[in-house]
């Protein structure tokens, strides 16, 4: 038992690191009251270290802590994704006015970011429904506070309250669903659920209710329609850094859990072996992927159509991120590893392009003081480099070559067509046309319109540009040379205990 725990601990190094960083951050905050700027450095170092440890886990595949958590390529991939996002968010925070203006509370900010990262790491590896709920809660509780981080601002606190009420209900629904599933299968461990479902048939109505309630929980996390309502409000109200973090990392962790839950719980492993490379067999004839397909269509369509009407860039990006969740859900619908690999590829490019877009919004908001689309008028002439970068991020988000966003879409559509989900692919493709419209609205304001008010050039410091390049270069490069991301994705779809 002890041996097992010790072994588990050794495989738990990234999470342990984060936990310790969290503690140190808080303690250091108490001790170094006068030097609050040190704390983020500690947290940053901790997250960087945890990410490095996560990289070192690559290739291993095992269950730890009595099967509560697994360490497998799939989990490592998402840890890497979350870790990188956290690192980049810390870099953003250096230049975020919202964060820097409340210097005294930097301890809170950075330690909660660490906690949130920890929650997401756990989400990536959780294989027990209880573990999943706990991980979600850890993430959520931190994010509730962070969303309301600038607590003097009414927007921020309103966002925070909406977020917690919404999140709490979703957790409640999910727990209720889990309890029903527990009743039906007698287990909370996904492998056990799978075994139970494979062995005995269960009441299909009860199963449906349970799954729908659980989907409500996941849907909230990945902001899928109709569980998305919190997203625009919270994204708008929260500080930009937090919004960016939520839009990428939180979504990624949610997807990791969703995929793992469905793939392990409801797939017929016997059929899986027989049809290597083909479409998975479903247990109990329960076509959960159809639910996800509908969800996906609703999500991307609503996200895109509503985004057309947004004038606040943060809110526009919120809807855009909803739409992107819809695209990624398509990859889950197809029920094979190609689809999953496509989702992973998409996440990698999404990381760069979405963070890039948020970063530009943040930089501009710092200078102009507004996130309104009108404040972007003539920006192309005041700050060409930033604007060109924004154009690149936007056309990448819209999915045009030669940017990485295209590769993401390419692999998603490829997976869909390969599994003959042609109608869904067509819907997705048409949606990307709609999405172009609102991205181009911003581009139009930047280049086609003349500046309103000041026409002074806006200048940014070199490090600010360096961070931008850090995001810009991969967005372009992976559009033309995508072998690394695809190979990484291909290697990362492997889950512990499957096949």
């Amino acid at each position: 038992m002890v041996e097992q725990t010790l072994h588990s601990l050794s495989q738990f190094l990234p999470e342990t690191t984060l936990t310790i960083t969290f503690c140190i951050s808080i303690l250091a905050g108490l001790i170094l009251r006068n030097k609050p700027k040190v704390i983020p450095v500690i947290s940053f170092a901790g997250i960087l270290l945890a990410t490095v440890f996560a990289v070192r886990q690559m290739g291993s595949s095992q269950a730890v802590f009595s099967g509560m958590i697994v360490v497998d390529p799939f989990a490592v991939f998402f840890k890497l994704l979350v870790g990188s996002t956290a690192v980049i968010i810390f870099l953003f925070s250096i230049y975020s006015q919202e964060v820097q203006s409340t210097l005294k509370r930097l301890v809170e900010y950075s330690s909660l970011l660490v906690a949130m990262t920890l929650g997401m790491f756990l989400m990536a590896g959780a294989v027990n429904l209880l573990m999943m709920v706990l991980a979600i809660e850890l993430t959520s509780l931190s994010s509730y506070i962070l969303a309301g981080y600038t607590k003097e601002a009414p927007d921020s606190s309103e966002a925070s309250l909406k977020y917690i009420i919404y999140g709490a209900l979703s957790t409640g629904l999910m727990l209720y669903g889990i309890s029903i599933l527990f009743g039906l299968t007698g287990a909370t461990d996904v492998y056990a659920i799978n075994r139970s479902l494979a062995a005995t048939s269960v009441n299909s109505v009860a199963l449906l209710i349970a799954v729908l309630l659980i989907i409500a929980g996941f849907g909230y996390k990945i902001s899928a329609v109709p569980f998305h309502f919190w997203t625009p409000d919270v994204y708008e109200g929260a500080p930009i850094t937090i919004t960016a973090f939520l839009s990428v990392a939180s979504k990624a962790a949610g997807f990791a859990m969703l995929i793992r839950f469905f793939k392990i719980s409801f797939i017929d492993f016997n059929l899986l072996a027989a049809h290597a490379g083909g479409v998975w067999g479903l247990l109990q004839g329960f076509e959960w992927n159809k639910i996800l397909a509908i969800l996906s269509v609703l999500t991307m369509t609503l996200g895109n159509l509503v985004a057309v009407w947004q004038n606040n860039l943060k809110r526009l990006l919120a809807y855009s991120s909803i739409a992107h969740a819809g695209y990624m859900l398509m990859g889950v619908v197809v029920l094979n590893d190609k689809g999953l690999a496509a989702v992973l590829v998409y996440f990698m490019v999404y990381l760069f392009m979405n963070l890039g877009a948020f970063y530009v919004v943040m930089l501009v908001a710092n200078k102009v003081g507004s996130e309104d689309i009108d404040s972007y008028k003539g920006l192309g002439y005041r700050s060409p480099f930033i604007s060109v970068a924004m154009v690149v991020f936007f056309i990448s988000l819209a999915g045009l070559p030669p940017t990485a966003g295209f590769i993401g879409k390419l692999f998603l559509f490829a997976a869909l067509l390969d599994a003959r989900w042609v109608w869904l692919a067509v819907v997705g493709a048409l949606n990307s046309v709609v999405s172009l419209y609102y991205y181009v609205r911003v581009v139009r304001n930047m280049f086609l319109r003349d500046p309103e008010g000041s026409t002074e050039p806006i200048r940014f410091s070199f490090p600010q540009m360096a961070i931008l390049l850090l995001l810009l270069v991969p967005t372009l490069l992976f559009g033309l040379f995508y072998s690394p991301i695809v190979e990484l994705a291909n290697a990362s779809v492997l889950m512990f205990g499957v096949r």
């Binding site: 209880l130 709920v133 706990l134 809660e137 509780l141 509730y144 506070i145 309301g148 607590k151 003097e152 009414p154 927007d155 606190s157 309103e158 966002a159 925070s160 309250l161 909406k162 917690i164 009420i165 709490a168 209900l169 957790t171 409640g172 629904l173 727990l175 209720y176 889990i178 309890s179 029903i180 527990f182 009743g183 007698g186 287990a187 909370t188 625009p232 409000d233 708008e236 109200g237 009407w309």
Partner: protein, 110 residues
Amino acid sequence: MQDFIHWLQAPGLNHFLIISGILFSLGVFAILTRRNAIMVLMGIELVLNAANINFIAFSRYITNTLDGQVIAIFVIILAAAEAAIALAIVLNIFQNFNTVNVDELNQLRD
């Protein structure tokens, strides 16, 4: 009628499930209708506890293990943590808006 009384007299899994269902519904009802933020949070507690009852009932009648009970304990802790943070946020809201009426918090919309 006789049967019903009989049924009532011999509590089993279904009794618990029905109670839990009622509790869940009440919770949801409270969440959707109460305008005071605190009351909404109370509704959420109801929902969580409905799940707890399910867990324990299933644990008792179906699996015969302690899994359900353990989960319930976790959920209770979780609910406490959530409530703590929620109350802090409500407090902050009250400072900013002078109200805890969730209906009036609609600055962020469309």
